[in-house]
Symmetry: C2
């Protein structure tokens, strides 16, 4: 079984959707990625930073989910990163109401010694210089480096972003961001351009419309499970990424064929995440529930055609 | 092999896309449905109306594609239905520049005697009263009635629409129309409501985002093939429907499992349609090309997961 290191934010989120609103709850990319990957019972560590206001109970909760948190720096007199957002009725668009970087502003990630030889590195959405610094700490070339990013860094740190992108194997990015990064409307053409920037594998996330995995001229598509209602989309992309890397770490097979399965697992886990606020649904998710939903995915997507 | 009757428009289309524009070319729902279904070498007839300006060459072309056109009424001193539209840069939205109903305004479809016992009836997008009148002419209850419609009839003839919908087995409708018809945002909930209106099968078309097939609590999803460029989306929905009914007529199996295959065939044929203007790409489409693309669909969607 492979070893996984995850770098990303840990945060307080305050979320408003048409179904209700929350006070400050546990959030952050590393949290969602870690919880999702922990489903695979792998050896994983989260690298992050929080303030003295971050409850020990949250860290204990992550630890109880088999996530090593020794790489989570606690800045006693600092405050934890805070994000607040409000989703529109269609759940596909949202307004950011507040972003308080706090301790995240000076985040200087330190990968624990015993994870510097990890097989898989998952670089959650952060400043590309921070992402690069994690890669520089690895004592052994990882089998797979996966990077998530967003349009904010394309606007504010494009050169740094290109510098880290050229060193990763897989990039996950949403459709609009893929278009922004490449100047191409067609996602097929955009993925091809991103290949030339470094990543051999490109995952384009389309939210409720699923995700595409590109590898040169090969492409695979995983739909999102059609749900009666999406309660809160927060963390769905990170949960998807966590399922993807978790499955690859578990199976130790980074072939394109196995990445198809990893994408299906990612989509499956994300389908739970959106059913409740924040991490709530991911907290008590059983293997049995996941397997049942994988069966639903199979029925949703698999067919046996007779050529005419 | 089943017998298929198709009712729908035959038209002149003038199309403008970011890639260019056409003069009046062959268009119309019955044309696209017929050409797509003809790929299956089935016994099919088109029921439509055109004016004296409709070239005999077009009718010959359809006949040469194995489509019985004896049910296409020619009104010598009338003009053929004309539609003109301009697509925006994203290809997902368009402006209608002109709609001249002409002979379509008084369309009184007559199903040829030898098709009144057809196994499958495909009701292309038309006034719901016209669609009903076709059903009333059938001397034998068809195995399957498939109906396509659009928001225009929901706005202008909702009662008539409900009257015909309750007599069909399958409805094809796009996502926004499904929401309008039911007042539900969730497509899962919308499909469930449409079931109660009559159709046991509901196909919700999402354009470049694929199509969903619902049957009670069962759901199947077929993506659209990711293409380098969509040249002209005109007729894609009708081509999809034509592939769907053509495959079902060919295989004579209207089970949900076989409908999955029919949806994949529909999506496959539609992926060709959008590659050129109007019907151009569908005119010289070989079986070999279709089979190759079905292989692409398989690679795009099929996986073999190991449960962890």
């Amino acid at each position: 079984m492979g070893k996984l290191v995850i770098v990303g934010t840990m945060a307080f989120d305050a979320i408003e959707t048409p179904f209700g609103k929350t006070d400050k709850i546990l959030g952050g990319a590393a949290t969602y990625i870690g919880l999702s990957a922990s489903h695979f019972n792998i050896d994983s560590a989260a690298v992050s930073v929080v303030g003295g206001d971050f409850p020990q109970a949250y860290l204990d909760f992550l630890k109880n989910n088999n996530i090593d948190v020794s790489g989570v720096e606690i800045i006693k007199d600092g405050k934890t990163f805070f994000w607040s957002g409000k989703y529109h009725n269609d759940m596909n668009t949202r307004d950011t109401l507040a972003t308080e970087l706090n301790t995240l502003a000076d985040f200087n990630p330190v990968v624990p010694e015993n994870y510097r030889d990890a097989d898989i590195v998952m670089l959650g959405n952060l400043h590309p210089i921070v992402q690069s610094s994690v890669l520089n700490q690895m004592t052994k070339k990882p089998k797979l480096v996966v990077l998530d990013t967003m349009n904010f860094w394309m606007d504010s740190a494009l050169d740094d972003l290109h510098n880290v992108i050229k060193n990763v194997d897989v990039i996950t990015i949403n459709d609009e961001e893929a278009r922004q990064l490449t100047g191409e409307y067609s996602l097929v053409v955009a993925a091809r351009k991103i290949h030339t920037m470094g990543p051999k594998y490109v995952i384009i996330k389309k939210g409720e419309h699923g995700a595409l995995l590109f590898h040169n001229e090969n492409v695979f598509f995983a739909p999102a499970l059609p749900l009666e209602e999406v309660f809160d989309p927060t963390g769905a992309g990170d949960t998807f990424a966590g399922g993807f890397v978790g499955y690859l770490a578990k199976t130790e097979d980074t072939s394109f064929e196995n990445m198809k399965n990893a994408v299906i697992y990612g989509s499956t886990l994300a389908s739970f995440c959106v059913e409740k606020f924040g991490t709530e649904r991911m907290q008590n998710l059983s293997n049995h529930e996941v397997h049942k939903r994988l069966e639903q995915f199979k029925k949703l997507t698999q067919y046996n055609i007779k050529l005419t």
